[in-house]
């Protein structure tokens, strides 16, 4: 793990809300994290936990309205991405930061050829000619392991299988040699054998290209295999953040712990009955006043209902947003 490297991306106190008829939904609440050069940060969370919204907020990809970024600072490349002009931000998007989305079926434009779609950022960000861009597109397709790349440049997305399409998405994201790659559930829509292919490809590319990656997923298994550090999100907040080994071996937040238990193992001992987290994930309407996990938490305390936990450092690079770890609460309880 490339510890000590400088952060390429530093996010502080990000807050994003959606205005809806039901009220303001606080989708991202005071999220802070950083990403160091060359590392892979895993972001785990269920749907609605705010993980995708966080990443889209960084690059201004949310539709505004209804979304609105209330606060925060996103330092990248010496500038605050939340403050730069639209044109500057566009240079970053696709140029210095690549993005891969969950559903390769719908994320590619169905009416443009794959070659065109890969060449687009090349021409825009690298100023390549049509010909250069085509050559580079072919290289990229080869890089992501699409056989017969030259011929397939002219094919349309629907002519590719799901796995191949996700490779195309990766090729697009990698086109301009980004410093950071944000992968939003890139394998969720894929079969396990294809997922294995993509995971292996990512590892390979990371070694080859040395970029930093943020990998969003709900699958702890995937995270276990590839991440350096893990950030667990719940209800729009980061509830736990730790190096990968530490997180799996020593989960501090009740949510993380429960999540790890609910997943049946493919090879370990088969439990007679699955552990269950009762209840449903919340939707945070209005500014949070309590711990979002409170209602489902087995260890909930009265104070959880009245205090918003902040992230408490509990070890080297390991923090958790649980009042159980709050020195103050611990002191009170003690």
């Amino acid at each position: 793990m490339p510890n000590g490297a400088l952060p390429v991306l530093d996010v502080q106190g990000l807050k994003t809300v959606f205005k809806t008829r039901g009220g303001e939904v606080h989708a991202v609440n005071d999220v802070s994290f950083n990403l160091k050069a060359g590392e892979l940060l895993g972001v785990v969370g269920e749907s609605g936990s705010g993980k995708s919204v966080t990443m889209m907020s960084l690059l201004g990809l949310l539709p505004m309205p209804p979304a609105e970024i209330r606060a925060g600072r996103v330092m990248f490349d010496g500038q605050d991405l939340l403050k730069v002009s639209a044109e500057e931000l566009r240079k970053v998007r696709g140029g210095k930061i690549g993005f891969i989305f969950q559903d390769p079926m719908t994320s590619l434009n169905p009416v443009f050829s794959v070659g065109y779609q890969i060449a687009e950022p090349l021409r825009k960000h690298m100023g390549m000619s049509k010909k250069e861009a085509a050559a580079r597109s072919q290289e990229l397709l080869e890089l992501v392991g699409i056989p017969d790349a030259e011929r397939r440049l002219d094919d349309y997305p629907h002519q590719f299988s799901g796995g191949m399409r996700q490779r195309v998405m990766i090729a697009i994201a990698l086109a301009c040699d980004p410093q950071v790659l944000i992968a939003d559930e890139p394998t969720t829509a894929l079969d396990v054998t294809i997922q294995a292919q993509i995971l292996e490809l990512m590892q390979e590319l990371r070694e080859k290209l040395g970029m930093a990656v943020i990998w969003i997923t709900h699958d702890l298994g995937v995270i276990a295999g590839i991440a350096d550090r893990v950030m667990v999100m719940y209800g729009g907040q980061v509830v736990e953040h730790a190096p990968v080994q530490e997180l799996f071996s020593n989960p501090q937040h009740p949510y993380t712990a429960a999540l790890l238990k609910t997943i049946p193992s493919i090879s370990g001992k088969r439990a007679a009955r699955l552990t269950v987290i009762e209840g449903q994930p919340p939707l945070v309407v209005g500014a949070p006043t309590s711990c979002p996990f409170r209602e489902r938490c087995a260890k909930a305390m009265p104070v959880c209902a009245v205090k918003v936990p902040t992230r408490y450092e509990i070890g080297a690079g390991h923090d958790t947003a649980c009042l159980l770890a709050d020195p103050l609460e611990v002191a009170n309880a003690g």
């Binding site: 889209m56 690059l59 990809l61 566009r90 240079k91 970053v92 998007r93 696709g94 140029g95 690549g98 993005f99 989305f101 559903d103 719908t106 994320s107 590619l108 434009n109 169905p110 009416v111 443009f112 687009e120 950022p121 825009k124 960000h125 349309y156 629907h158 002519q159 998405m169 697009i172």
Partner: protein, 335 residues
């Protein structure tokens, strides 16, 4: 795609024959008589003779196959003869109008330029106005522009042309005397001045008709754009750092045009017959006016031929719309 086209063409043959039969029977059953426009001073027995001379003495099962033969065999022969100087037709009877006693196709050919110039131009103008309105309305949904565009296009949709047309005439021809109220079908554009005149006499009918096209097409365009603006690939394009103009005008527009282009194609048949009222008001004697006069005069061969050509056009445009769909949308392959 080729087999799809072939298959649809083959299937359209029985459909068209059936349509021809239904139209024929409709006209046959319809009341009215080609002699109705003759003055009452012409005695009935003379009218009866005239009627017989038109071939109306024969029963329908003789006249319908005769029309089919004339339409599908004799007329193409004449065209062939005219183009290559051959003599296949050999003086066979063409489809003759009851009113003018001239070949129906000659009259239709004579009317086509007006129809294409005015009604066709209005369609093009209408579409050209509609597309940007639809695009901007969708992109800035619920903005002032969107609301205004919606309002204007709906007014256009709801005002009958016999009102808007006359209103324009009263304002621009009678009061201001800027534009002619009567369209000169014999006008030939040879130089700048004649071109300006042509423009002047076209502008009112074109605008009245275009307003209606605009109203409809811009609605479709807006809806289609709205559908596509929320698609995942738009996010991808933005994530690639594309400018908004590229995102909207290239990625979204290209996808949004797929259904709209087919709607536009499906609207084409109406160009040729749907402008009846506007043509009448501005005296643009195009195909619509020809059809209505023929209908009023019970000119069965003329009505039959025009409506059947329209039916062919409708069936053909349906096919073309489907093919266009396949061409524009690479996901669709009809094989």
């Amino acid at each position: 795609m080729l087999t799809f086209t072939l298959r649809r063409l083959l299937m359209s043959i029985p459909t068209l024959l059936f349509i021809a039969f239904v139209i024929f029977m409709l006209l046959e059953l319809a009341p009215g008589d080609p002699m109705s426009q003759m003055p009452l001073t012409i005695p009935p027995e003379v009218k009866e003779k005239m009627r017989l001379a038109l071939g109306l003495g024969e029963p329908w099962w003789v006249r319908f196959p005769l029309w089919l033969k004339q339409f599908f065999i004799v007329e193409p022969q004449y065209w062939w003869d005219a183009a290559f100087g051959t003599n296949f037709a050999d003086g066979a009877q063409r489809i003759i109008s009851f009113q003018s006693r001239s070949p129906v196709f000659d009259t239709i050919a004579q009317r086509l330029p007006q129809t294409l110039w005015v009604v066709g131009m209005s369609y093009i103008v209408g579409v050209l106005i509609a597309l940007p309105i639809g695009i901007i309305s969708a992109y800035k949904q619920y903005s002032v522009f969107d609301q205004t565009g919606t309002f204007v296009s709906m007014i256009g949709f709801s005002v009958p042309p016999f009102f808007s047309g006359v209103l324009l005439i009263v304002i621009f021809s009678v009061q201001l005397k800027w534009l002619p109220s009567i369209y000169d079908t014999t006008h030939v554009v040879t130089n700048w001045d004649t071109f300006i005149f042509q423009l002047k006499q076209m502008i009112m009918p074109v605008m009245v008709l275009a307003l209606q096209t605009t109203a409809q097409v811009s609605r479709y365009m807006r809806a289609s754009m709205l559908d596509n603006l929320t698609q995942d690939y738009v996010r991808t394009a933005r994530a690639k750092g594309m400018t908004e103009s590229v995102v909207v005008m290239k990625h979204v527009l290209r996808n949004s045009m797929i259904p709209v282009v087919t709607v536009i194609a499906l609207g084409i048949p109406s160009i040729f017959g749907g402008a009846i009222i506007t043509e009448q008001i501005f005296k643009v004697n195009g195909l619509g006016q020809l059809l209505i006069i023929a209908l009023q005069g019970n000119d069965i061969p003329m009505v039959m031929t025009i409506t059947f050509l329209l039916a062919v056009l409708i069936v053909l445009m349906n096919l073309i719309a489907d093919i266009l769909y396949g061409v524009l949308d690479p996901r669709i392959r009809y094989d």
